[in-house]
Amino acid sequence: MTRLNKMLAAMAVSFLMIAGAAFSHDHTLPAMESGGALPGTSIYNLTSVWTSSDGKAVSLKELAGKPVVIAMAYTSCKDICPLIVADMMAIEDQIAKQNIHDVQFAFASIDPEHDTPERLATYAKEHGLDAAHWMLMTGDAKAVRLLAAALGVRYRRVDATTIDHSTIITLIDQQGSIRFRRLGSGDDLVGFISHLADVARALP
Amino acid sequence: MGRIVKTASLMLTAMLLAAGVQAATREENSAEPIIGQEDAVVTDAPNVPPPIKRDHATKVVIHLEIKEVEGRLADGVSYMFWTFGGKVPGKFMRVREGDLVEMHLDNHPDNKNPHNIDLHAVNGPGGGAAASLTAPGHSSVFSFKALNPGLYVYHCATAPVAMHVGNGMYGLILVEPKGGYPSVDHEYYVMQSDFYTKGANGEQGLQPFSMQKAIDEKPDYIVFNGAVGSTTGDKALTANTGETVRLYVGVGGPNVTSSFHVIGQIFDNVYAEGNTSAIMHNVQTTFIPAGGAAITEFKASVPGTFILVDHSLTRAFNRGALAQFKVSGPEDKVVYSGKMSDEVYLPEGSGIRVAEGVAKPLPAAKNRAERIKIGESIYANNCQACHQATGEGIPDAFPPLANSDYLNADKARAIKTITGGLEGKLMVNGKSFNSVMPAWELSDEEIANVMTYLYGNWGNSDVEITPADVKANRVARAE
């Protein structure tokens, strides 16, 4: 996480505390308010603390400042999760071709029991996910539940090794508001990438 | 560019028509360009939006508001209906094949339940239901292309589906074929459905839905357009004689199918199951499946009230599956004469039957007063049934004996009438009668007594009839 991002995050937090009342019920697509206060629609209003694959305590807020492509899945899923990650990697390749480089990819595990930070680190290595752009996170059951609720991700443990869950990749803007949700899989990613480009190129 | 494509598709259509192939395939409808946008006109039963005039596909925007409302199911019986648009059945929607329909499903915040919509006109998962589950106070939007023409049912498909449908969540969407249907004078919307209430049919008050009766398929009410008597009396459908009528008829269910018939009419055309290619002619009763529809057409040749029924008849007469169509205008007696005559029908012999008199043997009457007294009971036991207690008779059927010009003018003739019977045209007191009176097997004494009673009452001439008079004038009967 760059120093600039950390500064922005700190500013956002302090302005949030001071000016929170003025920004409740913000239902429109938020422009970046002067001073960087979090809009009411931002998922960075969630204050849960997660652990990243390198063992550090992180909160979602640290992703602020860049567009974020986020999905919730689990590493031992054999069914559709590999496709989700593959799609995210495909998005990463394609936007690079459009000369957009400042995008963050986030993977939040819905299986904190088994997806320890070490397991996430191994997973990242197996898939060639570079640490500069990818944040893999594991958290307690409550953190997972609240983030899934905010993203509209459904999940349910079926047995010891299987969790049914929705297949969703979400686009978050620089302030943390949801801008696009791609449901299911198998379609081309053109729509998602076009939205991502718009968000990335939006003026602050 | 648009015009070139339009012309090309018209030419293609013409070529295909010429080749005898169905005018537009799904692929053609899918590819047809969308020109412009309009808000749909949607209507409550029994009305139908006007026919579509445009010759191109467009984007049609439809807003359907779902409301859970208390309403009348039958006299004194109310029910919590779940509705598309505030009424049962839901709004009638009318689009053209090839149109792009943008459906906005608005679930009113006062509703208790989530709802969605499955339109049978949609090619897609759940007919749209998968994309439209909507919580109260929220709205879902999805769009579909009307690839197939026809008359289609739509309904809520939220689990438990039978209950959502059982509470009134269904309607019709018409996808007109290109060029529409031939024009008629009147178009109407009729939808049959079944209701399951906790109480029996007719039990008063607000009735909850009965889950068990629904599962057992034992409806308490089977109705047209959402309630018993919704389309009767001053709410009947109407037309004038000589006009053509088209009925868009659907069956919402949830369970019961329909043997749809209009009493006194014959469907000149039936587009069975709402299809557009195989039209049947001269149909009396057409079968409409649950979740299905049919288009029926007839010409109102004669005036009168014609009853729409489900011809599984106890449904019509005990459960409410009955609606009225009133046709006004001049009669056409050749097509239908109405009642021409009302005659008595007697199955055997010359038409005159012999009625055995019911009388007890009595001592002969000594004078007029005694004759009258005995005659009164003979009258009561034999004549009163037809001629009534005070001789007033029955208009158009049995002549009066009170103040009777026929009796008073000629007593010999009266004797012949009683002893020989009488049939054919007859004038009594200025009124005409044409009935049959049997010959009475009564003795001279008995007839003399009853006739003296007649003449001695009710303004008649007071003469006495003797057994000798009767014997002299009696008609001899052929054995």
Binding site: S24, S166, T167 | E70, M80, G137, A159, M163
Partner: protein, 266 residues
């Protein structure tokens, strides 16, 4: 927070009434948190064991827990927002609650008429309900726990279903009934059906197709996993309705017929 501390605070609250809101305590006695004893329970939707076998309804074990006798009331929730300003009507963030949050309250710190004191609070989102339960050292029940409590170990289920159907057959009244007016079930819990819908912690976790007409009940393009699902009783319409309602909700939704109650681990 320890139970001894909690009991002391309850006592303080009981003495001083609700004039002085007590931090993170709910002035309720233990009778207000009846015990739901552990048991085996066949859920309405039961995921089968994995890998394409024929779905069968496996019973699950529900561990014992304490459930609030009644739903959270306007009074309870007012105490909460007094102490937690970020959950007040004009302060709450859009991601946590949509525009209709507490729309029936005339202002941040008033729920309106005195007659609504014991009314269940409604127009509260999942996030708000979560936060309230946490503030009183409790949590939302899981759907399994909630449905298990309703199942009342098999007692009076016909009457429970009829209560639900009767509620759906009535139009809305000017105000809701007070909490606790329905006869409690054998466990001691009141009004699980017949008053309002209630949030559960995993309301959105049933990944079966929301139309619930497909035979395997799954929309496999959208959902990962290979568990089939069975339905326990297709004649249990009120259960279908509860699951359809849950499936239609998003976490920041608020509905005028939707509230909640909390549970506590033992």
């Amino acid at each position: 927070m320890g139970s001894a501390v909690r009991r002391m605070l309850n006592l303080v609250a009981a003495i001083t009434g609700s004039l002085f809101p007590v931090f993170a305590a709910n002035a309720q006695t233990d009778q207000a948190w009846p015990l739901i004893s552990a048991g085996a329970y066949v859920a309405f939707f039961s995921p089968s064991s994995s890998k394409g076998k024929v779905p069968q309804s496996k019973p699950i074990v529900v561990k014992a827990f304490a459930m609030a006798r009644n739903q959270v009331t306007n009074t309870d929730f007012l105490r909460f927002v007094d102490q937690h300003p970020e959950w007040r009507k004009t302060e709450v963030k859009a991601i946590f609650a949509e525009r209709s949050y507490l729309q029936q309250w005339p202002s941040d710190l008033s729920f309106g008429a005195v007659g609504l004191v014991q009314n269940p609070v409604t127009n509260v989102s999942y996030f708000a309900a979560e936060a309230y339960c946490e503030a009183i050292d409790a949590r939302l029940p899981s759907t399994d726990e909630w449905e298990y409590a309703l199942a009342d170990a098999g007692r009076n289920q016909k009457s429970v279903a009829q209560t639900a159907l009767n509620w759906l057959a009535e139009p809305n009244h000017a105000s809701l009934a007070d909490v606790g007016t329905a006869t409690p079930n054998f466990y001691g819990v009141s009004g699980l059906v017949g008053l309002i819908w209630e949030w559960t912690s995993d309301f959105d976790s049933f990944v079966t197709s929301t139309e619930l007409r497909a035979t395997d009940g799954k929309d496999s393009a959208q959902f990962c996993g290979n568990g089939g699902t069975g339905v326990k009783d297709t004649a249990d319409y009120p259960a279908f309705m509860r699951f359809s309602m849950r499936a239609s909700l998003k976490a920041n939704y608020t509905l005028s017929n939707l509230g909640f109650r909390c549970v506590r681990d033992l």
